[in-house]
Symmetry: C2
């Protein structure tokens, strides 16, 4: 699917909402609809007529290259250009990200236009990935898996958290990632109890749990994967906690399929942790969409009223965190289908005991 097909799908959604068009000001949504990778841009999408892209002078050449099929306007002030091109009528704004000040300026600049909330109309389209997106996510996950396998081949004991994290990141780049997807979370020993631990100069020791949450980025698409291993033979507590998390993840994945309520997966994963007595030690969200953003719609939660669609890409990441002692998280990036989800981060989930 090309970006023009995405814009056509957007226009259909706008028509359903009775809108003459939408002003897309959320940068990642602009990228989704145009392919623009710069840091400043907006896109006006009228239901009737052609879209217009706005950016500043730094991106003149890049806009020519990345958006050959969309007219663009170069200027310092994106909103003024956009307001001039809205005809009268009812136009949607991305009020979940547009600032209060930006909104006030548009109201002044386009006094004859009825400006309304468009809702998360582009984010909703982005929940269901098209083929180029799935291909990019697949490559990002493959690179992540290969890099982790290389690093876990060791040696590990005696190196610092920071050194191992950097090694992993360098391998992802060597394997073809354009960037790392997010700053690597790598924790050993009782640091594993901290869900989002920044790597330190602590040295990895025999007997430690080692938790690694990381991913590669390819063509703007993010992989997100966590594995927890033991440096040496696992003790009973480490085995118990790892097994409980793995069981919870399996229960959640089982219900991650087309047509099933998003909340069902959450209930299953939490029910599993409840049954093993660890629910209170699970303090984060269970999973989230992943794509052009590392965290995007849909977010897996008991309160989510919707159902899952095929070709949605999600993480599933239950964990157990015991302050002062340690923690385990297992996380995959998976593709929702009509059957069992396809796990894109294919690294083993057995509890590895790395000598």
């Amino acid at each position: 699917m090309t970006t023009s097909a995405r814009r056509a799908a957007l226009c259909a959604a706008l028509t359903e909402r009775g809108l003459a068009g939408v002003l897309v000001t959320t940068l990642v949504n602009v990228r989704y609809l145009t392919g623009f990778t710069g840091s400043n841009g907006a896109l006006l999408v009228p239901v009737e007529g052609e879209p217009v892209f706005f950016t500043d002078g730094r991106y003149r050449d890049q806009a020519d290259e990345e958006l050959p099929d969309v007219a663009h306007v170069i200027g310092r002030d994106l909103l003024t250009g956009a307001a001039e091109r809205m005809a009268s009528g009812r136009w949607g704004l991305e009020t979940h990200t547009l600032s209060v000040d930006g909104h006030h300026r548009l109201v002044e600049l386009a006094p004859d236009v009825e400006l309304v909330a468009a809702g998360r109309v582009v984010e909703e389209l982005r929940e269901v990935k098209d083929e180029p997106e799935i291909e990019a996510l697949r490559r990002a996950c493959d690179i992540s898996t290969q890099a982790l396998e290389q690093v876990l081949a060791g040696p590990l004991v005696g190196r610092t958290e920071r050194a191992v994290a950097r090694d992993l990141e360098a391998r992802m780049l060597d394997l073809g990632a354009e960037a790392i997807a997010f700053e690597t979370i790598l924790a050993c020993g009782d640091h594993t109890a901290i869900p989002h631990h920044h790597p330190t100069d602590r040295v990895l020791a025999r007997g430690d749990l080692l938790k690694i949450d990381f991913g590669a980025r390819v063509d703007g698409y993010h992989a997100d994967c966590t594995r927890t291993v033991v440096l040496g033979p696992a003790d009973d507590w480490q085995k118990e906690v790892h097994a409980a998390v793995r069981e919870s993840q399996a229960a959640g994945l089982e219900l991650l399929r087309e047509g099933v309520a998003v909340s069902a997966s959450d209930a299953a994963a939490r029910g599993s942790l409840q049954s093993t007595g660890w629910l209170d030690a699970f303090t984060t969200g269970l999973g989230h969409g992943v794509g052009l953003e590392i965290h995007e719609d849909p977010f897996i939660a008991g309160s989510h009223a919707g159902k899952l669609s095929s070709r949605t890409v999600l993480t599933m990441e239950p964990g157990i965190y015991v302050p002062g002692r340690g923690g385990v998280r297992i996380e995959d990036t998976v593709l929702v289908t009509a059957g069992a989800p396809e796990v894109l981060t294919t690294m083993t989930k057995d509890l590895l005991e790395i000598g």
Copy 2:
């Protein structure tokens, strides 16, 4: 200066504006005022009484550690918690970043509170750096300079843009950077004409211009530096363009001092390019504040009505960009003082001819 001193300065500014307090929702401003480094948080700062910090469950332990002196409230919904704690009165909001939807929710949640725009009150404080900030910037710039000197020691010809960029980034991390400040811009040959070029697999060749815009991050603070060199003996055109940019930068730096209008520096740098006949080839902004953000207030422009303050840290980055041929940019991160600015990125600005 500690974060409590920054909050005291904020309260003084709020009092001047007749505000009972401010709800800080811009994450980087929350970090500035508290030291919090997570990805979700808000801070309520009343002029009378104690501040309260809001974050979600992922950051429970991190908040304990990073904000020992500020009360914190853990919950999924930061705005609800904040609205409950606003007494009646006139409260400021960061309407330049707060979303329209967030604003609507606050209006509903706090019907008895008068909610007004606080303006960029925290950003204004951030323009003048305190000692810990200057120290972090100095270290980030030192690391950047050392890493570039190492990479320019060669070899360079025959390697790809991407490989050299990665080498530079790895050296910054080796030298103690916590991260790179932004994705390195590294361009050779006619790619140097693109102000913001992503490194590709193009191979560096003898005779090429090589432009490198990069920086290290230390304790959240960003260095920003650009140098342009020639791979081998420079030709007359390369020498002419480099000299014109260097002269323009010197003219701009000359007026970057306490009490001088921000616009004066812009006029001087542009005047220099005008006099050498290259003004039309300068298509970007001249400079920007740098600190917890890679681009922050103040932005150097002819339209800026303010004057410079001591301890402001800025970039100065004139350039000449000739599509299809090449370009040169020279950029430093500098500290404004009462006299000549202190250049923190101390790498030589002579036109290096690297064999």
